[in-house]
């Protein structure tokens, strides 16, 4: 076992500096607009939560080592090196009060992708030992136990048995050559088993062959939240190995935001090669099935509902229309929040914040933004597509003594699924 060190952290931070980072730091004019886009600033009014300010140590490193004027300043002794104390001091703003939601990156007038840089800054923070304890614990469990929540295969198998009992359908494990391989988030396995049942029924009706790998069923990736690409690559590698072993065409990520980012967008870059399979979010797959007529529903929800956009799925993931198409299939009273789609507000718990006890207080403070959004709409049901958002939303709603149930899209669709009488296995190719 080695020790984290400042030297290691700074060295890794140095690896992170690229053209975008240099262009972003060069362009900032300190206008403060990113603060107005960040719920940690809007809900606290504390300027230290200004997104660009969260990057100050990294900016100083870039200036010192990657600019001509900065090297002169360094040589004159005007640009002191980054210290461990400084990084430690920055921990609360880099981890506790940033969900990597990317809203600041949308409003910056000079076009800085601040979130891109915070993701990179965390690499240096983690390697220098300045990641929060909660996230270290979750990451350690993810690597050693296969799940940040410590969920084991036996738990999943128990859920599969429940599905069998209530639907009569098998949850297929380790089936080679299946079209889809489904990965799940621990939170779904433990808190929202409805999801597993819903996809089992939907895929059965659509006549799709799918499977779950017993070797890699966990979709979440604490590595990208804590900011250690080496660990993130290892976690992604497990899924890649399983998917390639089972020779599936598509890996479906669950109702979880960052799992999508981790596998769909960061994955190939983490392991250094393109995947031999496709990665799709469950909502993309369901929307495809809808288009192909393989997803048929009946009846409509009359409740006034709205959709909370999970940041990593929508703003940072590009899955904007599918949730809306799917909701309109089963609801005739779907209303958008005032800020919605790529401009929706984060629930306040993404980017590892939910795994970080130190952030508990500010996480619930940040929820006030969502509360205001919900109150102005007067909705009866809140729909989302991320288990992590869902836990935060439920907790926030309870904390604020509101009464709005939170539902996942997939299970809402399954509730309206048109099911044909079972024709045994004959339907499947």
């Amino acid at each position: 076992m080695t020790q984290p060190s400042l030297e290691k952290g700074v060295n890794i931070l140095r690896e992170q500096i690229d053209g975008p980072v240099a262009a972003f730091f060069s362009s900032c004019v300190h206008c403060g607009m990113c603060a107005e886009a960040c719920l940690f600033y809007t809900e606290t009014g504390d300027p230290k939560y200004t997104p660009i300010h969260k990057l100050e140590p990294m900016r100083r490193l870039w200036e010192r080592e990657f600019t001509f004027a900065g090297r002169i300043k360094k040589w004159l002794g005007l640009a002191p090196p980054i210290s461990d104390e400084e990084l430690e001091q920055w921990q609360p703003v880099v981890y506790d009060s940033c969900t990597l939601c990317g809203r600041c990156s949308m409003v910056c007038p000079v076009g800085n992708d601040i979130t891109y840089m915070i993701r990179r800054m965390r690499e240096g923070m983690a390697a220098s030992g300045n990641a929060p304890q909660g996230l270290i614990g979750a990451t350690t469990r993810a690597v050693k136990l296969g799940s940040p929540m410590g969920v084991k295969l036996a738990t999943l198998e128990a859920q599969a048995r429940h599905v069998k009992i209530s639907t009569g359908l098998d949850v297929p494990f380790d089936e080679e050559g299946a079209e889809y391989m489904v990965v799940l988030s621990s939170m779904e396995v433990v808190n929202y088993p409805e999801y597993l049942e819903a996809i089992t029924r939907i895929f059965h009706e659509a006549g799709k062959r799918w499977t779950i790998s017993t070797e890699a069923f966990e979709a979440t990736n604490s590595g990208i939240q804590i900011g250690v690409s080496d660990i993130a690559a290892e976690l992604v590698g497990r899924i890649v190995a399983a998917a390639e072993k089972l020779q599936v065409k598509t890996v479906i990520t669950p109702e979880c935001g960052h799992a999508y980012t981790a596998l769909r967008w960061e994955g190939p870059n983490l392991i250094g090669r393109p995947f031999l399979f496709k990665v799709r979010h469950i909502l993309e797959v369901l929307d495809d099935l809808r288009e192909q007529g393989l997803l048929q529903t009946s009846g409509m929800e009359n409740d006034r509902i709205t959709f909370h956009d999970p940041c990593q799925l929508v703003r940072r993931g590009g899955v904007v229309d599918p949730p809306r198409n799917l909701l309109n299939m089963v609801s005739n009273n779907f209303v958008e929040m005032e800020d919605h789609g790529t401009m929706n507000w984060c629930c306040g718990a993404g980017g590892g914040v939910s795994a970080n006890e130190a952030a508990d207080e500010i996480r619930l403070k940040a929820f006030k933004r969502k509360k205001a959004q919900l109150e102005s709409l007067e909705v009866e049901t809140l729909v989302t597509a991320c288990a992590n958002c869902r836990i935060q939303l439920e907790e926030g709603i309870e904390e604020n003594e509101m009464e709005i149930p939170v539902v996942g899209i997939t299970e809402m669709l399954a509730a309206h699924l048109v099911e044909h009488p079972s024709s045994d296995e004959g339907e499947q190719p």
Partner: protein
């Protein structure tokens, strides 16, 4: 030294040296940034990064949406007024156009001077407003560094001295015009090594931001 001699020196070696410094600094900074590069995205792309990047260069001229505009109203309104004023003054005043013409050999029609004069005042007043906000608003005061005030000052001075020289105020015109050019020289020299570089790098920043998002299918 007479005003004429001072003006002559500023129009000659003074501004030439400043321009040399400026262009060298800008080229240096741009190469520094661009040569750091961006690693190839290995993920299966949902859209063209370069198309989205170019798009974002254009779309970021406007606020992301109405609520963003409302939330940062003073910053955006003052910022627009200042930048529009600055643009008109720099590029649409006939004497300035002749300056560009002498370098690039292309010219374009200028605006009547009272119009440019109006925009100068707009730029000056909005800059004062921005400065007032920077010192009085808690968030902006927290974010501001010495560089922000320096950048403000070196941008304000050419506008002010230009206004004073056009109106033949305070000093004889030769002196004021010389001081105006001196203030521009100062701006040019400081420019590449401060946030003023954003006038060039924002195009790179927006491109990268748009490309990173566009590859994931997020349109901005």
């Amino acid at each position: 030294m007479s005003g004429a001699e001072f003006l002559l020196w500023m129009r000659g070696p003074g501004i030439s040296f400043a321009a040399l410094f400026f262009i060298a600094g800008v080229v240096l900074r741009l190469i520094e940034i661009l040569m750091l590069g961006r690693t190839k995205n290995l993920a299966e792309l949902r859209g063209s990064g370069s198309t989205a990047g170019m798009r974002t260069i254009a779309t970021r001229f406007l606020p992301a949406d109405a609520n963003t505009f409302r939330r940062s109203l003073p910053t955006i309104v003052l910022g627009y007024l200042f930048h529009i004023g600055l643009f008109v003054v720099i590029f649409l005043l006939t004497p300035h156009i002749k300056l560009f013409q002498s370098v690039f050999h292309i010219g374009w029609p200028g605006l009547p001077t009272p119009v440019v004069d109006f925009f100068t005042v707009v730029a000056l007043v909005s800059m004062l407003g921005l400065l007032w906000r920077r010192v009085s608003n808690r968030l902006l005061r927290f974010l501001s560094t010495g560089e922000d005030y320096l950048s403000w000052a070196v941008t304000f001075m050419p506008l002010l001295t230009g206004y004073l020289s056009y109106h033949h105020l305070l000093l004889p015109y030769s002196w004021m015009l010389g001081i105006h050019i001196l203030s521009v020289a100062l701006l040019l020299v400081i420019f590449p090594f401060t946030k003023l570089m954003h006038s060039f790098t924002l195009f790179i920043a927006r491109y990268y931001n748009g490309a990173i998002a566009g590859e994931k299918g997020v349109q901005q």
